[in-house]
Symmetry: C2
Subunit: 127 residues, 2 copies
């Protein structure tokens, strides 16, 4: 692991905010986390560092292009770092992950509710 990367020098702040242009931290965060694969990546790193390729495999073989983009964003955000062991969560990344842990149980409950509610026909009738 830990080969030197070959991109010589960029380090430019690329992570503008896109969706929410207010700059309020919560909006920036919601925007960052609301990009494709971001939540998933953090999730997959929850209890071990992974090599870029292993991570990609864990994420249904998502495009290396987008994986790399997301990883760069997450690194810039300070949630992920590249170490000898591969990509892993920073302490701050682990803090974030803590917040998302309950989501697992929630997802199970949600799925059950969803299943026996069975396509509740969302169309508004209201009458």
């Amino acid at each position: 692991m830990a080969r030197q990367p070959n991109h010589p020098g960029r380090g430019g702040r690329t992570t503008a905010v896109r969706g929410s242009r207010t700059g309020r931290p919560i909006m920036v965060l919601l925007d960052l986390l609301g990009r494709r694969w971001t939540l998933r990546i953090v999730w997959e790193l929850r209890d071990a560092a992974l090599t870029s390729r292993a991570l990609r495999a864990a994420c249904n073989e998502a495009s290396p292009t987008i994986m790399q983009t997301r990883l760069t964003e997450l690194r810039d955000a300070g949630f992920v770092e590249l170490t000898e062991a591969g990509y892993g969560l920073t302490p701050q990344g682990r803090d974030l992950m803590q917040l998302f842990m309950p989501l697992h149980h929630f997802a199970e409950r949600w799925d059950r509710a969803r299943r026996d509610a069975g396509a509740p026909d969302r169309r508004k009738t209201l009458a």
Copy 2:
């Protein structure tokens, strides 16, 4: 409020999973929440129902096309409903929101850390 919608009958399950094809609830959820504007919409509805137009305004005037798409997905998922008062969170949506509340404080802390770390030059040197 509460005009009858004009789409006569669809109600088809549109919300396939896209990113993660495993079908595991957590993956489905992460995928759903990882679509553009989804987290933001839930966030903006956190303490009051909003009309579609007000919600759109709250979300930086995002495209009505995508707002409608996301709202349909969120309705199908059982997190959002359309009531007399406009779009609001369902009980299940509020449950989800509960999990995201700490994110607010986290975002503030994160922003501070981020600010005085100041673009830590993510490029791997490791040596």
